[in-house]
Amino acid sequence: MGLIDRRMGIFLTGLFILTVAVPAGNLWMEGQPVPSYIVSLLGKYLCYALLAVALDLVWGFTGILSLGHGAFFALGGYAMGMHLMREIGDRGVYANPELPDFMVFLNYQELPWFWYGFDQFWFACLMVLLVPGALAFVFGWFAFRSRVTGVYLSIITQAMTYALMLAFFRNEMGFGGNNGLTDFKDVLGFDLQSDSTRAGLFVLSAIALAGGLLLARAITTSKLGQVLVCIRDAEDRTRFLGYRVEGYKLFVWVVSAMMAGVAGALYTPQVGIINPGEFSPANSIEIVIWVALGGRGTLVGAAIGAIIVAAAKTLLTGWFPEIWLFALGALFIFVTIFMPKGVLGVIEGALAKRPKPQPDGKEAEV
């Protein structure tokens, strides 16, 4: 029951190899075997993987099915996007040193107050954690205290992200309306179009994913993690045993939201745009299927599931755009009915059936 079990060890090793190989293949090898767009694409997958790990922490271990995790992801993305907008400075179309282009276009006279401070990188980084964290805290404080659970909680998380989507679509909100934030130039002086910056962001995403996995693993293997699993399996009994269920849930909920925020912050510069579509309820539900496909309550499985679905989406929408929604829909049905333990559960189940059972095999039951 160490911090790094076999499953985690294999995944982190793979991730490490990828982190070395991809930038090397892109920057230093002859003939560039890894094209630049692949670097950004893989970086994007790693952000999704971190987001999936964040969701697995609350869904897999605490039983809170959030249909609004995309909101935390998007808020982190917006916080970083706001910094990148300020970094453009007077290189925008309207060459206004103070206001981003869309504000000039919408006749803003001065910067709205909530944009203050985002010209500082450290401030933006702080907000990437604080804004999703604060929203999660307020939301969770009310929801958990009044014991909204199960399906009801899922539905109001969905309403939360839906309301945020509607709000961010409004031009009056000061976040660029339905175009969102885009046309980023550079971050901390590094040109976002250059290969080395992209590779750097990719490595950062990999480190963030590894860090997120280890943090989640540390939480779930601690005594606190045991309580979380108790809450998932029998919330009332845990409460009757004297644990303050709300506090435990709130803690893990806020941590998860912050992880999602970090994922969003890394996602924005690699994709080059953040818009209100990220808040759409459909996106948030897709995150759930990543976790379900990879294996709920396995952390590593969630990351793998995210990468598998995102890669399948890229490939299928490229080859047969018509087929993608059929495939995704079928995946939802197939996984929930036939693979309740996900890909990782199936693989480990197959391994455990071999004559020499592994000591770690039991963990698939988590």
Partner: protein, 533 residues
């Protein structure tokens, strides 16, 4: 030059037949002369004369098409047909023929004159035989009050037999009195008349009087304006309530099927919105067939589509239940995911068949148009949808409470094992209950196709709203769903004037999120042990 001869003939003809009204022709003949001011005087005289023949002539003049021929000074209407100028009789519209370019000169009008002309036409039509024309003329006199017309209006009023026209004339007289220099008592009486009128038009006449130098007038006007504004606030509220009821009926339709699948069975059906969409596309398909083969049946299209939509959506619902949901009873979160998958597949299927764009669904004649009650306008399609939603609700309530099928449904949801022991085929009941909810979603689709865009994304836009309604009302309680739909609809419409549509929606969502914290089981929670777990 036959044309000119004809023109002359026409003119003489008029002269001959109506020798008694000579001055009409004289006045028309004076129209080209002088400046705008003199022309205005002639127009006013034409109006005062009361000869109905002046109306078509003045209308032509208003359009700027009245010309005087240079050769014989005959007055004709001239219109361009292709590249030719064609002369017509201004009175009868009879065609004279092509006239040479620059063979005539236009009788010019300016904006001031146009106003006078409209007033004159208004006066003339005050005595028209058709009450609708008289009403329009009274309204015109109200909008352009002219003290010189006061006596005319009063005499017309005393002869008027139609009560609606008489009322309009009263208002026109009041507005005219206010323009005149009659003594205070008459003016105050006029203000009182307008106060009874009580609408936006009366307000626009009365508001300038607030600044009147005469204190008696100003005080009377102030009272009247205050009374009218209070009255209007009431009507505004009534209008908002109506809009709210209308929105509520849409929410009710979207949510009521969900109240069965989610509320009664406890199954989270994320494909509910797509079942609504199937209903809307059924309507589209029925209308396409009718347009192609039986155009006469178009007014019946919705009545044909409704049962079809119920069967199609219900059939798909039974298939979903048998093929997927039944494996997942007791695992609500997994049900949610699987039905979401189904919704994606249904969406893409419809997109592949019908294309991604909006489809045109027509309104039958009995659903188009609107009527007024007091100062609010009610459109027929909204009214029918409200009635339809209430009818669907009533039928559903009847099925659930009064039929043996409904009894079985409730028995199975309350205690599956016990129901099975009593000999109820629970699997069969599950499928039918789910099918009922799905079929009602299809019916909702038929109604929504009348007011919303029919596109593959139709369902997505209702799914969050309908879950909110069911959760707010309290799952498992049909009356709760009804109350929730209408209260959310009305709340939304009352917020909109202050906040705008989008923000109103956001506020309502935030309110529901907070409300659920307070009462996690909704407005009308089912009480007792059954609700726990």
């Amino acid at each position: 030059m036959t044309i000119f001869r004809q023109c002359l003939a026409a003119l003489f003809c008029c002269l001959a037949t109506l020798a008694s009204a000579q001055s009409f022709e004289e006045l028309v003949a004076q129209l080209p002369e002088g400046k705008f001011a003199e022309r205005a005087a002639v127009v006013a005289q034409l109006g005062a004369l009361g000869d109905p023949r002046a109306v078509p002539v003045l209308e032509v003049l208003l359009e700027g098409n009245l010309h005087v021929l240079k050769s014989n000074e005959a007055i004709v209407a001239v219109r361009e047909v292709g590249s030719d100028d064609v002369a017509y009789d201004a009175l009868t519209g009879e065609e004279f023929g092509i006239i040479p370019r620059r063979g005539s000169s236009k009788i010019r009008v300016n904006n001031g004159l146009r106003r006078d002309i409209r007033a004159a036409i208004g006066t003339l039509t005050l005595r028209a035989p058709d009450p609708a024309l008289r009403l329009a003329a009274a309204d015109a006199a109200f909008r352009a009050p002219n003290p010189d017309q006061l006596e005319l209006l009063q005499s017309v009023r005393s002869d008027e037999s139609d009560s609606e026209v008489a009322e309009a004339l009263d208002y026109a007289i009041a507005a005219t009195v206010l323009e005149s220099d009659l003594p205070d008592e008459a003016q105050v009486a006029a203000i009182d008349t307008l106060r009874e009128m009580g609408n936006q038009d009366a307000l626009s006449v009365l508001t300038p009087l607030l600044q009147a130098t005469n204190p008696v007038m100003a005080a009377a006007a102030k009272d009247a304006v205050a009374a009218i504004e209070a009255n209007q606030r009431l009507w505004n509220m009534a209008q908002n309530v109506w809009f709210g009821l209308s929105l509520g009926s849409v929410l009710l339709l979207a949510a009521i099927g969900l109240a069965i699948t989610f509320g009664v069975m406890g199954v989270i059906n994320m494909a509910h919105g797509e079942l609504v969409m199937l209903g809307a596309y059924t309507t589209f398909a029925v209308q396409e067939v009718i347009r192609a083969s039986f155009p006469g049946l178009f007014d019946w299209s919705l009545l044909i589509a409704a049962p079809l939509a119920f069967l199609i959506a219900g059939g798909v619902g039974v298939a979903i239940e048998r093929g997927c949901v039944r494996f997942l009873y007791g695992r609500p979160l997994e049900t949610l995911l699987a039905t979401w998958g189904i919704s994606l597949i249904l969406q893409q299927t419809v997109r592949s068949i019908f294309g991604p764009n909006n489809r045109e669904v027509g309104n039958p004649s009995w659903m188009s148009g609107a009527f007024d009650i007091g100062q609010m306008t009610i459109t027929y399609n909204r009214l029918w949808i409200l009635l339809f939603s209430l009818a669907v609700f009533a039928i559903l309530l009847f099925v659930m409470k009064k039929t043996s099928m409904g009894l079985r449904m409730r028995a199975v949801t309350q205690n599956r094992a016990m129901a099975a022991n009593m000999g109820i085929r629970t699997g069969w009941v599950d499928a039918l209950t789910f099918g009922l909810g799905a079929g009602i979603a299809g019916l909702a689709g038929v109604a929504l196709s009348q007011i919303d865009n029919v596109s593959p994304n139709l369902g997505q836009s209702y799914i969050v709203d309908s879950f909110m309604v069911v959760v707010f009302g309290g799952a498992g309680n049909l009356w709760g769903t009804l109350a929730a739909a209408f209260s959310l609809g009305i709340a939304n419409k009352f917020l909109e004037p202050w906040t705008g549509a989008v923000l109103a929606k956001i506020l309502v969502l935030v309110f529901i999120i907070l409300f659920i914290q307070k009462r996690p089981r909704g407005l009308f929670a089912v009480k007792g042990r059954a609700v726990e777990n």
